[in-house]
Subunit: 154 residues, 5 copies
């Protein structure tokens, strides 16, 4: 049985992990899920590494909600850079799901965005684990997570 | 007994380490604390690494107060990037507590902020070590350190 | 027989991988091609690493189409940094083919650009594998991929 | 006897190494000093690494004077990032002493700044090697190198 | 006999490698030179690493000409960061010779700059290999490559 790690934060303003777990379980009965909550997004890289090294996860979702200030953008950049390093150290995927506070016009839209993006990326996780052919079929099609897909161009 | 490292600087304008140690000791009788003071924030990554490798700490708090100039922002960015690298090399958490001089309106507020943020993050350290369930319970709740918590969104 | 990896994304709005494969096959009968599709450009570094480590590719093309927003630029930067790290870990080339949405005036031009750049870089891949002398012959000649070549200066 | 490495550049416009060596020797009779001069600041990371790996230095001072243009700022950033990496690879401190040309109003002030900052950091080197308690005593006191110390806040 | 690697690009608009090789050969009869041409500057880090690991070079010159657009600046930054990483992995120097298109007022000046900077840096290469004392003698003297030297300050 494949193990999926979920790393999330107390800083986020939406419980993205519950959305992720709900979607993953609806998509596949044959996965086990391990959740690890850290304070903020800069704690996610080592949290993901521990999920790989200590919990033997096959893939991890890193869930975070950076604020709208310049320093928050920088923290997100540092976290993303670290998440890429972890993937290269472990040869396994981390699907980063970051929802920036200033992506939405208001809190209602922000919660919808956080929920949708997380669930869409749960599909990516399942496809990377079990259905790489589905990803290949949609290559170059402008798929997005959270808002509308973009149109492919010909 | 768990060992907590405290890395701080002579550059900072507030004795964050004393606040950290005071709070940690009030939260748990079963930790030992090792303190290491370096000149500035760019010296923190290797200081933390030495606390892990040479002092066998289980977790480290990295305490710093970047100035308000552009070059200070860049130093903070470099230090943060290094702190993430150390965590990935050692598979242990570093809780970064940086207080930027321009986050507060005046020195009074800055000292309150530095004190509060450090103490709040001391709780995160104890929770990561002993109570991961407490962090999980507060996932997605918009917790902040230093100023007011943000509101969770539904 | 040399193995060429192709890493692409579902985020891109043009099927760059098909253009790459078509061009590579027209250039050389003696290569085998392995394709790996991931969700977005930040998933490309580990995808390329897996193509080297798990599929034993000799060289990889990393194909992506970053959007036009600031956050897309940052993702592209993080992805590029990761792609360089992978090359240093594996001692093999990754030819990065990124087409930024705002490089073209309209969708028609964007699709032409994506197609041309991908095919031009396929030549670089074949030259790195089989004809390093051809690259050396064109050193300093201002070669470009996608738009017109620049003029060499004397 | 402790070995201190001094890495400096031909790009700098002030002989910071001579100031460093003079100050170090006045502070301690029990150190040996090894100097290594490279062309520019981006050559400092590997120079420091060689001082650790090939000359077995216990600590290194990295001395540089970035220019005032945007590209110089970026070079300084790249150099600093590299210097942090070296420290983590070697588990030893590098005290970075960078003096930016635009920190001073004129050449006279610049030379005073370069001299003062270098000498003040020489004290940090000696304290890290022999007197960590002195650093700890001054933690959070707003110490600066080159200009006036900042005031601690309460 | 010392081996010097030359990594250059087809993107550059001036044949910097020929200038480098001509200057190196005029400076020393006791070096052998190995040239490796890649498409662009982001291909230089792994090219240099291969020159160290597969060709056993003692030092490498990395020659490139970034364009004047923002994306070119970012590519140069990524390349430089990678070149520093290679040096730390191999404990050997890479002398980066980058000529930015917007450093010169016109093509004539650009070609003179590219030629001069490359040749001046060839001297640095020879000095690092054979005459470290010459570099030390010029420490802090404001040496530049391409334009006029800066004045040392006292």
């Amino acid at each position: 049985m494949k193990k999926i790690g979920i790393a999330d934060t107390t800083f986020a303003r939406f419980d993205m992990a519950s959305a992720a777990i709900d979607e993953l379980q609806s998509l596949s009965a044959s996965v086990s899920i391990i959740r690890y909550t850290a304070p903020g997004i800069k704690d996610l890289p080592v949290s993901c590494k521990k999920l790989f090294d200590e919990k033997n996860c096959d893939i991890v979702m890193a869930l975070g909600m950076p604020g709208s200030k310049q320093i928050d953008k920088q923290c997100a950049h540092e976290a993303s850079t670290g998440l890429i390093s972890v993937q290269l150290m472990c040869n396994r995927h981390i699907i980063e799901v970051f929802v920036h506070e200033d992506e939405a016009k208001n809190e209602k839209e922000l919660s919808i965005l956080a929920n949708n993006r997380t669930r869409k990326h749960a599909h990516n996780v399942i496809n990377l684990l079990f259905h790489p052919d589905v990803l290949r079929k949609h290559a170059g099609e402008g798929l997005r997570q959270g808002f509308e897909d973009a149109e492919p161009i010909r």
